[in-house]
Amino acid sequence: MKLPDKTTTMESAIAAIPDGATVMLGGFGVPGTPFLMIRELVRQNKRDLTIIKNDANETGMGVDHLLVAGCVRRLITTHLGLNANAIRMMNAGEIEVEFCAQGMLAERIRAGGAGLKAIVTDIGIDTEMGAGKPRVEVNGETAMIETALRADVAVLHAAQADPFGNLCYAATARNFSPLMAMAAKTVIVETEKLVALGALAPDHVHTPGPFVDHVVHIPELSEEYAVVRR
């Protein structure tokens, strides 16, 4: 036995994403955002996407390119504070936005990835975020049902990957990526470093290969990945 090879090109991996797809994007701010893949989604002129991502990056970066190019119908996110353009489009009705509490977004994605139907939580129960969500009693306490989130595709950035799709993330670039890797029908990864099978210690793998469908090596990073001067 040997493990299957899943390496491919960015163009063909992204080409398989249909218009109207629900796409999870890794990243919290810059770290973990798959900037080159996002550029390719724009270049291939995808339409009508539902994007699930912690944030919409900053104006002029990452998700913002998708918004400006009109690729996005709907955004499920936690915070748009650094992207005035996203807030403007939301207020103008040019995109639909669903806000989640950050840990609930993480947990709903993980639930989808774990094959659960929903989770039961009290987060936000006394706030407008909890309004309208179905209630249940668990051990005498009232809580809410938050449905699991799944996507057609997850597009992720890894620091290292092997050809089977075992992934290692760097520092806080990990954030939502391991959860999204579990929660999408098709998982596409761009990796800074493509290493040989066996180069990643089995104890150090963050996302096991069976969750991953396509591995794309990006030999060079664009300036969007760099430290932002503030």
């Binding site: 493990l3 990835g113 774990a114």
Partner: protein
């Protein structure tokens, strides 16, 4: 092991397609690994937290921290990964397991599987079997066609507590390869020197026969 069992194992191995992620249950399924060549692209999963299972190791070479779910000392291969039990079953329940091969006490013509409990006699708990049976994309059973007393294990309805309902796609026995179809059991292949009449007699439910010749294995 009998020659018929060896052939059923070899035949089952041929149903593993290149690129699959597969969980092999305890018993006959475990033996399937011996029929996968060194260059065959497949990923074996064990529910205690590993993908990329390599060969079983003898006592002297074993790593005390590395077992499969059946307790066998296994080895890593290039590209193996270790993970916790929640991640392991997330892989199963979210549809990343292409195939599981399981043992059975009983299989019903509607695909119901019973393989974890014989009330009053054998109740050690279900382990990870329920999730494997319910959530693997394809579930095949490897079993002797009858129990030790000669009673059929393929039935109209299961009499024992279910592991999962309607989950079984195919059954490999020492007598035949049988698919579970919307119409019930369908004979696909016969073991060498076994007749249709013998299979029918050993099966506790209707058996649909194919048109034309029946391949042997």
């Amino acid at each position: 092991m009998s020659d018929a069992k060896l052939r059923l194992i070899a035949r089952a191995a041929r149903d593993i397609a290149p690129g699959m992620t597969v969980n092999l249950g305890i018993g006959l399924p475990t033996q399937v690994v011996n029929h996968l060549g060194p260059d065959f692209p497949v990923c074996l999963h064990t529910e205690n937290g590993m993908t990329g299972i390599g060969p079983t190791l003898p006592f002297d070479a074993a790593d005390r921290n590395l077992i499969d779910a059946g307790g066998a000392y296994v080895s890593p291969i290039p590209g193996s990964a270790y993970f916790d039990s929640a991640t392991s079953f997330a892989m199963v329940r979210s549809g990343r397991l292409d195939l599981t091969m399981l043992g059975a006490f009983e299989v019903a013509e509607n695909g119901d599987l019973a393989n974890w409990k014989i009330p009053g006699k054998f109740s050690p708990g279900a382990g990870g079997g329920m999730e494997l049976a319910q959530k693997a994309r394809r579930v095949v059973v490897l079993t002797t066609h009858t129990d030790r007393a000669g009673n059929p294990k393929l039935l109209t309805r299961c009499t024992l507590p279910l592991t999962a309902a309607g989950c079984v796609d195919r059954i490999f026995t020492d007598m035949a390869v049988i698919d579970v179809t919307p119409a019930g059991f369908a004979l696909r292949e016969l073991a060498r020197s076994v007749t249709v009449a013998q299979v029918k007699k050993a099966t506790g439910a209707a058996l649909h026969l194919p048109e034309g010749d029946i391949p042997t294995f």
